[in-house]
């Protein structure tokens, strides 16, 4: 089962505001691209040779925030009440 199919089973209150900003220009110059391996929801993928980020499936664990050493990621929590809403946890 693909991660995106797993995430489709989760309950999210998707916010219209993006809570994580990724400076993809910095990513272009980044060799290790830690974000690709840090994110358990595979929110970071390589598309046409560039790191592309989508926030909708974010599980808010913070792994990318502690993994990027290039300062490309600006992290805030989603607005109160938005984002992942675990039903089991």
């Amino acid at each position: 089962m693909k991660v995106e199919d797993k995430l489709a089973l989760n309950k999210f209150e998707v916010d219209r505001d993006v809570h994580i900003r990724v400076d993809e220009k910095i990513c272009d110059l980044c060799e290790p691209k830690h974000c690709l391996y840090a994110c358990p929801a595979e929110c970071y993928v390589i598309r046409d040779g560039h790191v592309t980020f989508s926030y909708e499936g974010c599980l808010e664990c913070g792994s990318c925030r502690f993994s990027c050493d290039r300062g490309a990621i600006t992290w805030v929590n989603p607005r109160g009440g938005f984002g992942i809403c675990y039903q089991y946890g």
């Binding site: 209150e13 290790p32 690709l36 913070g62 009440g81 675990y86 089991y88 946890g89």
Partner: protein, 428 residues
């Protein structure tokens, strides 16, 4: 806006324990939870061990939504196709002692928050704290959106991924070396199937831990917890190791589930939820300053987690630490002094509890557990040894101790084994 005696940020075990302690003493308490409800952002393996929760909410399991009580605890070493297990089961549990409970957080945390509310605190969910109100160096409340909530004290209990801890100047950011990433699937399975498959009676539950091939040899492990009618299945891996080895935990959990031993245990399970969380694992060495003028920090946000390989405790520590913070707040209010000098009593009290004592006893454990032989060479050795001992291939048998020695060849030296043993003695 009304001025609160204390504002607690985060309605998890630490925040709820602190808020409940203070509310019961008559303090005017506001709990701010960023999730839509308490527990919305929380996941764990999950079992709760220890007595702290029982001290705050006596015999909580009689009313709280717990899945099962832990009667079986197994640890298995895995290679690609084999496993060797230590399987502990106690059917005659002493009823006076507090057993472990397998719990799903979304339901349980809501129950805790309900208790806190009944004790007189206000729980406001769906509110994300952006910043603090400051008077000089002192923190005097929080800001939510454009709104200010003044308070004499703030207690931070906002979890491993706390954004406020560094804003308050209590700590720098955690490092990937000091964190483990847990990913988990909740798989629905009929009750009878779980009870038959895991050899359980009624609401008995099993905690199964796995070391070795499930993380492809990276520091960490796999786990299965039996809920009432579902299984919690997942892996926990050192975050820095994922980055270094360019491996994703989302792939490791698939690898784990596909292991022949694990596959048989979870067969037929239907996925209900996929979750992930960070665990601060470096113990005392990563602990922040615990207080400053007008603020205290507790639980995962303060890295109060114990992992020794055999023992894994976070929530139990969080509850005990939350109570200690709550009591410090009560004393501060009696003296009407919320300065860092007055809040020293929080750290003093913590030092007298098992929280700091255990973290000190096992202070070498985090470093010891980085040793990759634990996840590669030793599980392979253990399984290979057993397979050779049990093998009957028509050839004359060798002395068992000779088999043990031969299985070590190419994996590690006697010196390495002895030195790891000595380190284990100190660490565990």
């Amino acid at each position: 806006m009304e001025r609160f005696d204390a504002i607690v940020v985060g309605a998890g075990p630490a925040g709820c324990a602190a808020a409940y302690t203070m509310a019961k003493a008559g303090l005017n308490i506001l709990v701010l939870e960023r999730g839509k409800y308490a527990g919305a952002k929380n996941m764990w393996g999950g079992a709760l061990f220890g007595s702290a929760m029982n001290e705050v909410f006596p015999e909580f399991w009689k009313e709280a939504p717990v899945e099962r009580s832990v009667s079986r605890h197994a640890i298995s070493f895995l290679t690609k196709d084999a496993s060797l297990s230590i399987d502990y089961k106690n059917a005659h549990r002493d009823s006076s002692s507090c057993p472990g409970f397998i719990i799903l957080r979304a339901k349980f945390d809501q129950w805790m928050a309900g208790k806190v509310e009944k004790a007189g605190a206000i729980i406001a969910s769906g509110l994300e704290v952006d910043d603090f109100i400051r008077e000089g160096q002192a923190i005097r409340g929080v800001k939510v959106g454009g709104e200010e909530f003044p308070a004499n004290l703030v207690i931070l209990a906002d979890g491993a991924n706390s954004l406020l801890a560094s804003k308050a100047g209590l700590r720098g950011e955690f490092k990937a070396e000091d964190l483990k990433q847990g990913v988990k699937e909740v798989l629905r399975l009929p009750r009878e199937v779980i009870e038959n498959r895991f050899n359980l009676q009624g609401t008995e539950g099993a905690v199964m831990e796995f070391v070795g091939h499930c993380t492809l040899g990276l520091p960490g492990g796999g786990f299965i917890y039996t809920n009432l009618d579902s299984l919690s299945v997942g892996v926990v891996v050192q975050l820095s190791a994922l980055l270094e080895k360019r491996v994703k935990a989302s792939d490791l959990i698939e690898e784990f589930k596909a292991h022949p031993v694990v596959q048989n245990l979870i067969r037929g399970g239907e996925l209900l939820e996929y979750s992930a969380h960070l665990i601060p694992v470096s113990g005392v060495s990563m602990m922040p300053r615990l207080f400053a003028d007008g603020i205290m920090i507790t639980g995962d946000a303060a890295a109060m987690v114990l992992g020794t390989g055999l023992i894994l405790e976070g929530a139990n520590f969080a509850v005990a630490a939350g109570v200690a913070a709550g009591n410090a707040a009560i004393r501060a209010r009696e003296k009407n002094d919320y300065s860092s000098i007055a809040l020293q009593s929080y750290e003093q009290a913590l030092k007298d509890t098992f929280v700091i004592k255990d973290l000190n006893t096992f202070r070498e454990a985090p470093h010891f557990l980085e040793n990759e032989r634990i996840y590669n060479a030793y599980p392979q050795w253990a399984c290979d040894m057993m397979s050779r001992i049990f093998c009957s291939d028509g050839k004359p048998r060798k002395n068992t101790f000779q088999v043990v020695r031969e299985s070590m060849k190419g994996r590690f030296t006697v010196m390495q084994l002895l030195s790891d043993f000595m380190r284990a003695r100190r660490a565990m």
